[in-house]
């Protein structure tokens, strides 16, 4: 029978809480495989997906590869733990003209042949059955694993597929991701979700100064992200009036600083409204004028009771792009729709603003009213499939 063996990663580091983490992970696995026929077994220290439609094995593996908290998996054959059945299965493995190594694990010590002896025996068998094959204990081309478990079953596999690792989604609370439409913010969302945090997303648009296509792009990014992080509640807020007011009343070079301070305020309010515990941004130190240490100090200072997580803070653009490609958001991120209105952008934005300077500019605005209007007029979309 075909089965998929699952291995958990960091969960082993957990002490008394391990059960909570494990149950969350198992729940997430089941949600990810929703719509598939399968059985999940947790026996003798092994986690096994079985009884699935074998034609869909690759699809199921690809889905499992997106579950945070899984360390690796192996598609395997499950046979009775007898020499005869094991040999029969080993016979199906093709090692012709390749070097190989046999790994035997014997959790069931009642199995009559010790691990080392079994390895040798199976190695000999493979050598006789596969022309041109050779044993290489250091860098074999084929790795053949035989895992004999307490349930009197043996699992035979030759592939170990790396998974996402990290912590199960939902084990680290829920936060609000500022999703711009660029390359960095989806990556930030992915990285924080990999640490177990569920996310909702907040997008600001400046229609009619920005296009509807820019908004569609963000919806698409949220959709791509939801393949990893499950359903996303996307909050869409019109920022047009705020920008018009700043443009009318404040010094041009402070446009971005004030804009971002108001965005942060809106984000914190939305966190309060929906009981979210953190704000996540895609900022990367020094990438642009608004992402200098001073700028982040000034924009971050308006958030009073929530941590701001910036998973990309120390990453190079190239590293961010690499992840963006891996999670398939890159091609959408680079679509040429402006995510922030360029009509109001100053030629020389202030690079090292200070909090008092920003506060002086803000005195010219009715900040509370603008923030409230943003929050009250938000539009909420549910994106991706149900996770809970």
């Amino acid at each position: 029978m075909n089965v998929i063996l699952l291995r958990f990663g960091e969960l082993y580091l957990k002490g008394h809480n391990r059960n909570i983490f494990e149950n969350t992970l198992i729940k997430n696995i089941k949600i990810m495989l929703e719509g598939e026929r399968f059985k999940f077994e947790k026996t003798f220290g092994r986690y096994v997906v079985c009884n699935y439609d074998e034609k869909r094995e690759n699809i199921i593996i690809n889905k499992l590869k997106k579950v945070f908290g899984l360390y690796s998996l192996s598609p395997a054959k499950e046979v009775d733990a007898t020499m005869e059945s094991i040999m029969q299965e080993i016979n199906n493995i093709d090692c012709k003209n390749k070097s190989f190594k046999v790994f035997v694990k014997r959790a069931d010590k009642t199995f009559p042949i010790p691990s080392m002896d079994l390895s040798k025996k199976l190695g000999e068998f493979i050598l006789t059955k596969n022309e041109g094959s050779s044993v290489d204990l250091y860098s074999p081309q084929c790795e053949i694993h035989v895992d004999i478990r307490m349930n009197k079953k043996a699992y035979i596999f030759d592939k170990i597929i790396k998974c996402q690792r990290g912590l199960p989604l939902g084990s680290s609370g829920k936060g609000l991701l500022l999703l711009s439409g660029g390359i960095d913010s989806p990556v930030a969302g992915y990285l924080i979700a990999k640490r177990g945090m569920e996310i909702e997303a907040l997008h600001f648009h400046s229609y009619p100064y920005t296009s509807e296509l820019a908004r569609e792009k963000v919806v698409k990014l949220a959709n791509l992200l939801s393949e990893y992080v499950g359903q996303i509640k996307l909050h869409i807020v019109s920022f047009t009036k705020v920008q018009e007011e700043i443009h009318k009343n404040c010094k041009a070079e402070f446009m971005i600083t004030i804009m971002r301070r108001i965005m942060m305020r809106v984000a914190e309010r939305i966190c309060d409204k929906y009981n979210l515990g953190a704000i996540i941004t895609g900022e990367s130190l020094g990438q642009v004028a608004s992402q200098t240490m001073q700028s982040m100090t000034v924009t971050g200072s308006v958030v009073k009771e929530k941590p701001i997580f910036r998973p990309c803070i120390a990453m190079d653009k190239e590293d961010i792009m690499k992840i963006s490609n891996e999670i398939n958001t890159y091609q959408t991120s680079i679509l040429p729709y402006e995510d922030c209105c360029t009509v109001f952008l100053p030629k020389n934005p202030v690079i090292k603003p200070t909090i008092p300077q920003a506060m002086r500019e803000e005195e010219k605005l009715d900040i509370e009213k603008l923030v409230l209007e943003c929050v009250d007029n938000e539009e909420v979309m549910i994106i991706g499939k149900e996770t809970n």
């Binding site: 009619p208 296009s211 018009e244 443009h247 009318k248 040429p336 360029t342 009509v343």
Partner: protein, 372 residues
């Protein structure tokens, strides 16, 4: 809704849809098949062929049905390509479906000349004289500019060709002209003429290439040899028949005179406003105009909210890419950014134009107030 983006596409004639349906459900036979029902269909699409030739005033020559203008342009240019040290002449105001083929030829090692544009959007005829020579294989110039509505003087172009490079082929992209502006391909010695059905109330996905002498053409797609081998693939019969219906039901002269009034009316509305700059061009179907201080795209979207749909031509929304055609006319970046394209159809009323004009002015002034 007031639709002022008819250069992008037009609404199909409703009866054309009925015709399409008739050939999709009742006379659905493959025109290449051998039984009489199929032969009838073949004769029917041949009638559309004849209608196109009549409209172009072509006594001889072939009409090859294609999937639309992009394919027709590619077929004319690449299909007439010959090995050797040939040179090509294009205007620098061509649509991407010609311009990017020109770029391709350049990459293939051919010498390609791009004729300059004047500030009124037409080609610079003096420059054309300078770049053509006995090695010129093909001259490809659009009849009416999709960006500005400028009409190139085909008779002047033909004269230059006859005088300086009589052997060169002449291809005219007539997408914005066919069924709108009269043309006589015989008199003008035009070798290829491109048209696209959806620009004149026909369906999308169908067009044609007129070729005066197909012997200078080779197919660019390979297959079953339909369209006498020049364009393989089963003909889009419904589309071709609906295109034929559209041709039958358009009165070029009457429409021209009427649409001229619409354009004049819109110009009168807009001209009075400070900051509005109209590019004066010949085609009554297209009005190219800039609104100083306001982004054209922003204006387009704000107008959309008021039910007025205008175009921004092929202006790209990226910060880097501007508008190649307007740039080549020597228009400055500020005007290009604030540019929109208003394009008309005979289905619009004068009241609608006045109403849209007022809306455009109001929206422009509102936005100007916000961004100044």
């Amino acid at each position: 809704m007031i639709y002022l983006d008819n250069a992008a596409t037009t609404k199909m004639f409703e009866k054309g849809v009925d015709i399409y349906k008739k050939y999709a459900c009742q006379f659905f036979f493959n025109p290449s098949a051998g039984y009489s029902q199929a032969i009838d269909v073949r004769h029917d699409i041949d009638k559309t062929r004849q209608k196109i030739k009549d409209t172009l005033n072509a006594e001889k020559g072939n009409v090859i049905f294609t999937s639309g203008a992009t394919e027709s342009n590619n077929l004319a240019i690449l299909g007439s390509k010959r090995n050797g040290k040939w040179e090509y002449v294009f205007s620098s105001g061509e649509h991407p479906s010609v311009y990017n083929v020109a770029r391709y030829l350049e990459n293939q090692g051919f010498i390609v000349h791009y004729v300059k544009l004047t500030e009124n959007g037409q080609i610079d005829y003096e420059d054309l004289k300078n770049v053509v020579n006995e090695k010129t294989r093909l001259i490809s110039i659009m009849h009416v500019s999709n960006e500005t509505g400028a009409i190139n003087d085909l008779s002047l172009i033909n004269n230059i060709r006859q005088k300086y490079c009589p052997k060169a082929l002449l291809h005219i992209d007539g997408v914005q002209a066919f069924c709108k502006i009269p043309v006589n391909v015989d008199e003008l010695n035009i070798d290829f003429y491109t048209l696209s059905a959806h620009k004149f109330h026909g369906p999308k996905g169908v067009g044609a290439l007129y070729a005066r002498d197909v012997s200078c053409l080779k197919n660019i797609v390979y297959g079953g040899g339909q369209e006498e081998g020049y364009r393989s693939g089963t003909e889009n019969v419904g589309g071709i028949m609906a295109m034929g219906y559209a041709i039958d039901n358009i009165d070029i002269t009457k429409n021209y005179q009427y649409v001229e009034k619409l354009k004049k009316c819109m110009e009168n509305e807009l001209e009075t406003v400070k900051g509005v700059n109209i590019i004066k061009t010949e085609s009554p179907y297209i009005l190219s105009v800039s609104f100083s201080g306001v982004n054209g795209e922003t204006l387009m979207r704000s107008l959309q909210d008021k039910g007025v749909l205008v175009g921004i031509g092929s202006a790209c929304s990226t910060k880097k890419a501007g508008n190649r055609v307007l740039e080549n006319m020597g228009i400055n970046q500020d005007k290009i950014k604030s540019h929109i394209r208003i394009s008309f159809s005979e289905e619009l009323s004068l009241d609608e134009i006045k109403n849209a004009g007022k809306n455009i002015i109001e929206t422009y002034q509102y936005l100007l107030e916000k961004v100044k």
